[in-house]
């Protein structure tokens, strides 16, 4: 039996930080209520709660309500209420949430997974966005029932290897096929980035410093923290390279391909300024590109420099997705990279010019097969780990990216959504994120604590893992490594005949107000 080498963490209920949660449905109790408590007695989902010492039920916990599907059951509160005091409706608030890529239901689905560690019980479409292309039009093919295997989640291997080069550096394996993308000290609340590191330790995965330096709070989790070396070189020191298992050269990022990082003055507090060795309140624009790298030879010099500082470190090269991303990838490999990390144009968590996010560089869905194919043709595919990011939103996207040819993925935005980011996009303005996530404001930063972040992330990733295990089992695969490059298991709706298309869930396509 292929038992897990690393014991995966337990999930446990981690409710929202906010008093009023947002659900797909709203359920209101009107003044006809006689506080008989029947609704609380019959609801198995915890929507209606009437504590023993309360004379009347609490306000319904709407996000737990399964909505009109409940009609088919024997516990539909609306019909059982003796006074007709309950009203159930679709929540019109959802019209004001989300966007084409992260639909309101995808947001709510991730809130639910982060709360419970399981797939949402409510009928939410959390695997597909409304973008009308890319992952949202890809589906896994109907599996041949004969292929399915009956093994438990514990017996399925979701780990990936990060050093395939065969060099004398450590073999590094993480238990998840994804790890956390760089979020810098300064752009994101300290409790959030440390919470991510704690989750990475529990999940035997990784997180990344981003380009804002290495706060000492990371040290207890240093085996799970990647040190990023970006063009601004903020906070990069020899010791931060010496203490990390993996260092990442960030040549470019999908949020702003071809542009340097931005940290606006409001976020440069005293602590951030100290870490970045700069002046309080001064906006920081990282240069682009590395002014020390103008050739593959320069790039190799960079890699050799890091390898010399730390003889055990693995090198990851993070690039965006230009038209010649395949050539860039092979160049990075020949210069000694263990990991090639391609970051597509639609993702990113940090503040970036809207024009860059929308228009510059290709979406990751195109880049993965392009790079995978080229590395194969060059005979390098099994000697390097290919990591994809930038617009990978959910567990299914991860599985699709792997089937397209990546070994694993890097996740950013979903981590933030797990801690209740609503993607309002105001990360950069004034005091920063009003929800206490992407902020250095002392008051707002206190809205969130490390334990909450850690457990919400563990819950979300464990829910994703269940999805991956279901997919692998259905195709008779025991390891996610076997899924890599299995693009034969994918279909794209636009490439199917009308009859074949009917076998698959249609792509959501509805107009949104942006």
């Amino acid at each position: 039996m292929n038992q897990l080498k690393h014991q995966l963490p337990e999930t446990h209920e981690t409710p929202s930080r906010f008093r009023n949660t947002i659900g797909k449905y709203i359920i209101k109790r009107n003044s006809n209520c006689i506080s008989c408590g029947k609704c609380a007695d019959i609801c198995p989902y915890g929507v209606h709660v009437m504590p023993d010492n309360h004379a009347s039920p609490l306000r319904p916990i709407e996000h737990k309500c399964i909505g009109f599907d409940c009609k088919k059951t024997d516990h539909y509160c609306i019909e059982h209420c003796p006074e007709d005091a309950l009203v159930l409706k679709d929540n019109a608030l959802l019209d004001t949430m989300g966007d084409y890529r992260w639909t309101p239901e995808m947001l709510l689905g991730h809130f639910a997974m982060a709360e419970t560690g399981d797939a949402p019980r409510v009928d939410l479409e959390y695997n597909l966005g409304n973008s009308g292309g890319g992952f949202d039009k890809m589906r896994f093919i109907e599996p041949d029932p004969g292929l399915a295997i009956d093994i438990s989640d514990e017996e399925i291997d979701t780990s990936i290897d990060l050093n395939k080069t065969g060099d004398d550096r450590p073999r590094k394996t993480i238990s998840m096929p994804c790890y956390g993308g760089g979020m810098s000290y300064g752009s994101t609340a300290l409790s959030v980035i440390v919470g991510r590191a704690r989750a990475a330790k529990k999940l035997n995965s990784l997180t990344c410093t981003g380009e804002g330096g290495y706060p000492p709070e990371f040290l207890p989790y240093k085996e799970h923290v990647i040190t990023q070396v970006a063009t601004g070189l903020f906070g990069v020191r020899e010791e931060t390279i010496q203490q990390c298992p993996i260092m990442e050269f960030k040549y470019a990022q999908g949020a702003k391909p071809g542009l340097g990082g931005h940290l606006l003055g409001e976020k440069v507090t005293k602590a951030v300024a100290r870490m970045r060795e700069t002046i309080v309140g001064s906006s920081l624009f990282s240069p682009f590109p590395f002014h020390s790298v103008y050739s593959v030879e320069d790039h190799k010099k960079h890699v050799d420099w890091m390898k010399e500082i730390n003889h055990n470190v693995l090198c990851s090269i993070k690039v965006s997705t230009p038209t010649d991303v395949d050539m860039v990838a092979i160049g990075a490999y020949y210069a000694g990279a263990h990991i090639i990390h391609i970051d597509g144009s639609y993702g990113g968590t940090g503040a970036a010019p809207d024009i860059a996010k929308k228009n510059i560089a290709m979406p990751i869905e195109y880049a993965i097969p392009k790079v995978h194919k080229f590395l194969k043709e060059e005979g390098a595919r099994d000697k390097v780990t290919l990591i994809a990011s930038g617009g990978i939103r959910n567990g299914l996207d991860v599985a699709k990216a792997i089937a397209l040819g990546a070994d694993g993925c890097v996740i950013g935005t979903a981590d933030l959504v797990a801690v209740e980011c609503v993607r309002c996009g105001n990360c950069e303005s004034g005091r920063g994120c009003a929800r206490g996530i992407a902020t250095t404001d002392p008051e707002l930063g206190n809205m969130i604590d490390e334990e909450y972040v850690e457990q919400r992330l563990v819950n979300m990733y464990m829910a994703w893992r269940k999805q991956w295990c279901d997919i692998l089992r259905s195709y008779g695969l025991k390891s996610i490594k076997e899924l890599r490059g299995r693009s034969d298991l994918l279909v794209h709706l636009d490439y199917l005949d009308e009859d074949d298309k009917k076998k698959y869930q249609p792509a959501p396509e509805y107009k949104m107000v942006l």
Binding site: N20, A252, G260, A332, I355, N359, E428, H492
Partner: protein, 472 residues
């Protein structure tokens, strides 16, 4: 060293509340009254600051529409009395091309002069029609980018409007053997044009011309509308004339350095007469991209005549005129550009594209498709708070009182918008590793197109595409 071109900005607050996207709803009957935890007091953006004032004045509480979408009031109110809806007025402004989002971003840029920035990734559809079916390239490691936006490397956005000689030739003593005419250039590849609708009061036109003057560009205006008050802006005006009317404007044509004459068959015969009125005149020919015209062929013929620029017009949505299945300007520009290359005249002539240019990205994308520069009209109105509500077309009053705009304010807003657009152009040019807007012309190699990417990356996996690619 000559001074680097830069557009100075100054914040210009809106005169009227911009139409916001969201309306906050309060179910006040459920309010606890004097709650110490009141979320209104805690709003990070302070949007409820004037709440009570509005209530006492019985005014529409405009704070409703300034919500920044953090959801905290909705999620933290002890009584749960808050909700939100999309502002119905927001849904109504603009149309499917000039979307509410385009309008609201344009207002923001005209107000602040800043590039729109947001966090948490891209929010729109995977691909769209027209310009939304192409991406621009970026350079990585071996083809370095240019760091233009913060002035660390200068990126030149100049374009020329005058004709270029095919080649230079020299006498034995090294002197020029050909006559080289003065070069007429503008510092950014954007010209203005008089909108075809809207409140076009004297104040509005002067606002546009003052902005053109400030940033050093020019504006196309019908010669008949260039009345005396506009004459001080002569060097920034390109009068639009027709074959039968240009003789009526000898004074005007003597005071400007460029003119545009409307295309009609046989127009070539009039270029000599135009030059006779002012031999320094740079001549543009304006041609509407009508489906029944062989516009690429006409452009080739025009490029061989003694003119400087061809100005092609699509409709306000960037579409071909008079067609049941109109093509988009990016494809029409490609045809024209390639036809001129085949004819060997592309280097001599300039192409200016009009129609459907509503965002900064459209400037660079038009240039990639083969234009030298673009001309814009509606963004000028929108910068001055126009809501494209069409009330003016129906003889109704303008909700933002454009007719009485102070030209100093109006030009400030337009200048801010152009600065934000230019900075966005620099972001894209820098990412592409280009230091010259002129180097971008026709550079499709610095772009990626939906149909090509699908073919290259997806066709080997998924086979033949069954849904036709409709990105035109």
């Amino acid at each position: 060293m000559p001074q680097k071109y830069n557009i100075k900005t100054k914040a210009a607050l809106p005169r009227f509340y911009p139409v916001g996207k969201y309306a906050t709803i309060e179910f006040r009957e459920n309010c606890a009254g004097s709650c110490k935890e009141c979320v209104k007091k805690k709003c990070v953006y302070d949007i409820f600051k004037d709440n009570y004032l509005h209530m006492s004045k019985m005014e529409e509480p405009e704070y409703l529409y300034t919500c920044n979408s953090c959801f905290r009031c909705i999620q933290e109110c002890t009584k749960g009395i808050f909700s939100r809806v999309v502002n119905p007025e927001y849904r109504e402004i603009g149309d499917e091309y000039w979307t509410p989002d385009v309008l609201s971003r344009t207002w923001y840029q005209a107000h602040t002069g800043s590039v729109p920035v947001s966090g948490a990734g891209y929010r729109g559809p995977f691909v769209g029609k027209g310009f939304d079916s192409m991406w621009t390239d970026m350079s990585e490691i071996v083809r370095p980018t240019r760091d233009g936006i913060h002035g660390r490397e200068y990126i030149n956005t100049c374009i020329e409007l005058s004709r270029r000689p095919e080649r230079l030739s020299f006498n034995k003593d090294g002197s020029l053997a050909i006559e080289v005419k003065p070069i007429l250039e503008i510092p950014l590849p954007i010209l203005f044009e008089q909108p075809d609708f809207g409140v076009l009061s004297k104040e509005v036109l002067i606002s546009m011309l003052k902005a053109a003057q400030t940033i050093g560009t020019k504006m196309f205006i019908s010669a008949a509308d260039v009345y005396e008050d506009l004459m001080p802006f002569g060097p920034f005006i390109i009068p639009l004339v027709k074959k039968d009317t240009f003789q009526n404007y000898p004074t005007l044509l003597s005071r400007v350095d460029m003119v545009e004459i409307e295309y009609e068959p046989g127009i070539e015969k009039n270029f000599g007469a135009l030059k006779a009125m002012n031999e320094e005149l740079v001549i543009s020919v304006g041609i509407g991209l009508r489906a029944d015209l062989d516009y690429a062929g006409i452009c080739v013929e025009l490029s061989k005549a003694d003119i400087d620029t061809i100005h092609v017009y699509a409709n306000s949505h960037g579409r071909e005129f008079e067609s049941d299945n109109p093509r988009f300007i990016k494809d029409m520009l490609r045809d024209i550009h390639l036809a001129l290359i085949d004819a060997g005249t592309r280097q001599q002539i300039n192409i200016i594209a009009s129609g459907g240019i509503c965002m900064a990205e459209h400037v660079n994308k038009s240039i990639i498709c083969g234009a030298d520069g673009v001309a814009i009209d509606r963004p000028l109105l929108i910068a001055m708070e126009c809501r494209l509500c069409d009330r003016c077309r129906n003889g109704l009053s303008c909700p933002v009182e454009l007719e009485s705009i102070d030209p100093a304010y109006g030009s400030n807003r337009i200048t801010n918008l152009m600065s934000a657009w230019r900075n966005q152009m620099l972001e894209m040019l820098g990412a592409m590793g280009l230091r010259e807007a002129r180097r971008l012309r026709g550079e499709v190699g610095r772009s990626m197109w939906f149909e090509d990417l699908e073919k290259e990356s997806f066709a080997p996996i998924f086979g033949e595409r069954k849904v036709s690619i409709d990105v035109g």
